[in-house]
Amino acid sequence: MTAFDVARVREDFPILSREINGHPLVYLDSANTSHKPVQVLDVMRTYWERHNANVSRSVHTLGTESTTAYEDARAKVATFIGARSPDEVVFTKNSTEAINLVAHSLGASVGPGDEVVISEMEHHSNIVPWQLLCERTGATLRWFGITDDGLLDESGLAELINERTRIVSLVHMSNILGTINDVSRIIARAHEVGAQVLLDCSQSVPHLPLDVVELGADLIAFTGHKMLGPTGIGVLWARADLLREMPPFLGGGSMIETVTMERTTYAAPPARFEAGTPPIAEAVGLGAAVDYLSAIGMREIHEHEIELTGYALKTLAGIDGVRVYGPGTPDGRGGTVSFDVAGVHPHDVGQILDDLGVEVRVGHHCARPVCARFGVSSMTRASFYLYNTTAEIDALAAGVEQVKKVFS
């Protein structure tokens, strides 16, 4: 495929031909979870029908094929994010588990007097594991605030990240404001004081060309189901030398070197962090998703989304009574647009939109502190992916007009 052709892309996603309440499905909730192309579904089905076996523990043919498929998926993911080696890629259940892994493993060396820094912009899954870590260890949790424009407030950077800081964990792209955080200054400051930086890339890896070496973070987390892959598979990437120093998180099969009744020595990464039978078909499915995204091109996908985002921001700004949160132009933001319809609760907005086949997310989006920061209890969010069109944004706008009519 040379030029990006959204009509052609849509043909790969069977669910997009569904009707909802008598209307064509307009799916604007990909930040929540994305749909899956036939290429991913086919690969997973073939895996189960032809190759199913456990990995890393059988000499038989199926076991070998299964192990090869699983490790191929790891290599594909590594290439996709520019990792120096597949050994830097740890498969987890999702982003949440990857972040918890880091909070336990890297967090094992944190103690009283140490500080962990997050931000007000985080998804709950990048808040709660750090609160728990601080409760366990007596460390102190601190955070960046958010500016009125929906950016990280870096004004207190030099004080916030200091000699006591051990771990900095930040969202790369906000799942509610759409902000793509320029984290270069924060990473530089963290490294200056010897802290490790984890980026929650749940929303960025699916939508932007991303290279972990260029990004400069020490660890990143992301989740397969938001990038055309299945649920049940996520990724922790970390620098190989850091990963080698980290103690295990979960104990069990596959993560050991030798076990006696007295003690155990652990396998090298990534196996050290993959206790038990992993989600094999899901990893293979994620590998297929990465193939699909790469064939189209992450730059092309990002450009398509910039176009959709610009169109959506302009369209929503033109509707009386609609307030958009986060950056007002597509610069430095992704295709996730949260908004408010004056006088109408997001639950009611979402219900009437659903009646018209337009699927958006409403609520606090697992980021309650962001809602609180902007003085609301919830927001309505439309989020875009490679298969969305400007016509679907028109359907959203028509739906918002209908909402206003019902509640006028």
Binding site: P346, H347, D348, I352, D355, V362, G363, S377, S378
Partner: protein, 144 residues
């Protein structure tokens, strides 16, 4: 389709809520939150139900439901309030199969359509569950 959900009566109660605002004195208070959407309500009751006051933020369904609760239960004998409470909960949990009795439920029958939207049943029940807790704290049992 959402016409069934957003009945005129519900929209009226939402736009012009009855008895809204927290008042003193009261004997029991409860604060309930719907963790999935962040809707919140605080309900206060006196031990003879001579006043039921509330405040909160939420969607039209939860806010209208609080207004209807106020209208239906305030000043009622406790036994009767308990019966109405039970009828409303039964209607909401009936998946659209329960025929509401207007004699008992008054404006509450407008919520019959809500029972067909499983995601919204919790919104409608939020004030009623908070009321039940507040009443229990005031020493009033509203279970029949």
């Amino acid at each position: 389709m959402t016409d069934q959900l957003y009945q005129e009566i519900i929209l009226d109660h939402y736009k012009h809520p009855h008895g809204r605002g927290l008042r003193d004195p009261y004997s029991g208070e409860a604060h309930h939150v719907n963790p999935t959407c962040g809707d919140e309500i605080t309900v206060r009751v006196t031990d003879d139900l001579s006043d039921i006051s509330y405040d909160g933020m939420g969607c039209s369904i939860s806010q209208a439901s609080a207004s209807v609760l106020h209208e239906l239960l305030k000043g009622k004998p406790i036994g009767e309030a308990a019966k109405i409470h039970e009828a409303f909960v039964e209607l909401m949990q009936g998946r659209g199969q329960v025929e509401p009795d207007e004699e008992v439920l008054g404006d509450g029958i407008a919520f019959a359509g809500v029972a067909r939207y499983p995601a919204r049943v919790k919104c409608a029940l939020l004030p009623w569950m908070a009321f039940k807790d507040a009443a229990a704290r005031a020493g009033v049992e509203v279970t029949v």
